[in-house]
Symmetry: C2
Subunit: 451 residues, 2 copies
Amino acid sequence: MNAARLTPIPAASSHPTYPAVDIATLRAWHPYDIAESLERAEMSPLDIIEVLLRIGNHKALDAFQHLGIETQQACLEAGNTQTMLRFIENMDPDDRVDLLKKVDTDIREAMMPLIAQAERNEIRRLWHYAEGTAGAVMTTEYAFFPAAITVANALERLRLQAPDKETIYYIYITDADRHLQGMISLRRLIMSKPQTALADVMQTNVIAVRHDMQVEAVAEIISKYDFLALPVVDGEDRLLGIITVDDVIDIIRAENTEDFQRISAVVPFEEQYFKRPLTRLFWNRFCWLAILLFTSILSTAMMEWNLALLQQMVALAFFIPMVTGTCGNAGTQSATMVVRALALGEVFPRDYWRVFYRELLMGLALGLSLGFMAYFRVLLQDHNVMIGFIVAVALLATLLTANLAGALIPLVLRRLNLDPALTAGPFIATIIDAVGITIYFQIAVLLIKIF
Amino acid sequence: MNAARLTPIPAASSHPTYPAVDIATLRAWHPYDIAESLERAEMSPLDIIEVLLRIGNHKALDAFQHLGIETQQACLEAGNTQTMLRFIENMDPDDRVDLLKKVDTDIREAMMPLIAQAERNEIRRLWHYAEGTAGAVMTTEYAFFPAAITVANALERLRLQAPDKETIYYIYITDADRHLQGMISLRRLIMSKPQTALADVMQTNVIAVRHDMQVEAVAEIISKYDFLALPVVDGEDRLLGIITVDDVIDIIRAENTEDFQRISAVVPFEEQYFKRPLTRLFWNRFCWLAILLFTSILSTAMMEWNLALLQQMVALAFFIPMVTGTCGNAGTQSATMVVRALALGEVFPRDYWRVFYRELLMGLALGLSLGFMAYFRVLLQDHNVMIGFIVAVALLATLLTANLAGALIPLVLRRLNLDPALTAGPFIATIIDAVGITIYFQIAVLLIKIF
């Protein structure tokens, strides 16, 4: 026997695109890689279907599942109904419902009667779960047995059912009405004596989630307890489906993308970068930027208000970007740390007092040291002790405010059940700008009056 | 038989902390929850050890593993060597090495001779793998068999080995020198005929990674192919260990935290929020903010340069925060989208031309529409057509620049093997501020000359 041929992983950035690859090569690839290369080749939907049909094995059916949902939709709307039926029937139940919800109503209604009875019933069952809930991402292809059968019997049945199940590593024990009674891992099952009843070896202490739980919370539970799957039940503890760990990874990634986009004031997009329609993206970005532009009215108003002072001491204007910029950065720092700590469960809203104390201390330390630096920086450039003093004190006061606001606003948002990630965004930064300029001029007026 | 007792998941935010919970209650909890409540109670290391000893079952040993590494270290340095030995020996090999690397040298040297021979050899084997590589996070507790044994024999051996293995759902086939020859999933194994040799049912097309691969790349492979585990090999394809999917979830989370921190100019911290030492955090934040403060010298210099113009038309200063703020936001938007698309493999550096074209179009559309809005905004407040015109044109030019810079700089950084996430950070924003102010005044001077 030869040594195993360790499959070289196609380096993502050097992915050959379809025209350069022949069908025989594609046939040897993992379905995920087939899908990725089809996506990147930017072929027409009909060409994609053509290539998948020419590959012609089960991998081609699986590759369809790995295509982006917009590509799937385009294929479904362009392709022959009978051909597409095979792809549709092979899909995971939850992905299939997502796709059918997206597709043109006429096409869906033409296709539904042709879908096999069992799959059709499943589609109906999954149809009403709201997006973003456990019910909408669960799969119904799980292994379940009654408690009365023996371990040997369960293993025998598993052998037959295995090809149709998403996972057989966790087996669920239900009564005749599908009430969840327990679970047993395949590891435990093969370690148990063959003639024992499942009832005697199963674990009855099962962590399950309701179908209406948010997927982010489900992901949290699976990742914290290192589960491979989590059962989903209805209000009466009847088993509805399971959520597997690979879905959880996708959920965590999508959640992080959302947070990143929210931080930069882009309403989250589902599509891949190059697939996002430019007009929708334009409106999305335009609206945010327009709101931010109008928020900056505050900063402008503050300067107009102090027109006389500015005309008298125009150098004051020079240091506004420095003060607002530095304080905006400090606020973003504390906001990001608290937002992330909230997401990871390291901090809770009730910790506000501890967070306040910590960030007050930090804000004072940063404000004093940076204020000191700013003072000398102004002297170096401007030789004006008064302006140096104004800038330093304004920096200290603004930084303290920004640092505390950045840290505490996420806690308030979380308490109000809003997304704390909004804080780290430009909206707050724009407000901090205005507050910074206000403080700046207040302190300028005050100090000029005193001296 | 009663319906299963579905374990209520302790709501994270209402986690009772230790003093409020008696030992009997803790005994019923999942090790993860025990660890979490001990962490939150902020007990001394000796008290933590005391509680774990009083719980006294295997869950207590596992709970130690779920404590943060700083807490583990504190316990190890405070506790009795003999007691701590039990906790150490129960740890996963990779976590154990991480902890021993962190702990005081004297304590490590006192403990090493007491650790059982097998574990000690393992520690030596894992010691030299660099942090952040596959070798450093892999576990060596995997199931492996020779190719010649039968399916029935393999199942029999698995039954005995299962308790000591991290996972038995993927089984690896190796020769006498541990060269990886193939793998078989437990699902496939129990579906195979008992008398077949493993050689005939195993999959020889195995995706494996080298021990020096970065963990982020490993996470990418596992999540893309939906694997439960991935084998790690040396330069000669000898099996060294495996990386399991639950580790991958932790890697993805850590990676995202790092990105978030980098975006907000905080050097990534490993510790939990409340555990970060204030002095180190201060220096970390101070250095970044000081650098940014000095970068803003550019903005100030630009304004001084145009002192005469500003004194003549002081209202020009009013709209600087609006122009730089809006353009900074637009740049952050495009940067975040491209950074995320790079991370998810939707965009590659060689796509620069497509990205350029897309963001040029978008920048023009946004610049024209927001410039138009800004024009009316200035008229409303200032009744000065000239300033309105200057602001609108400056906004268009700066936004176009910021949008393109935000989108293209991440591609350049990636090409240079630097982290693209740096782009979305305040460093670039500060530079955009200066560039924006420069463009603003250039256009003001130009337009005033023309009219």
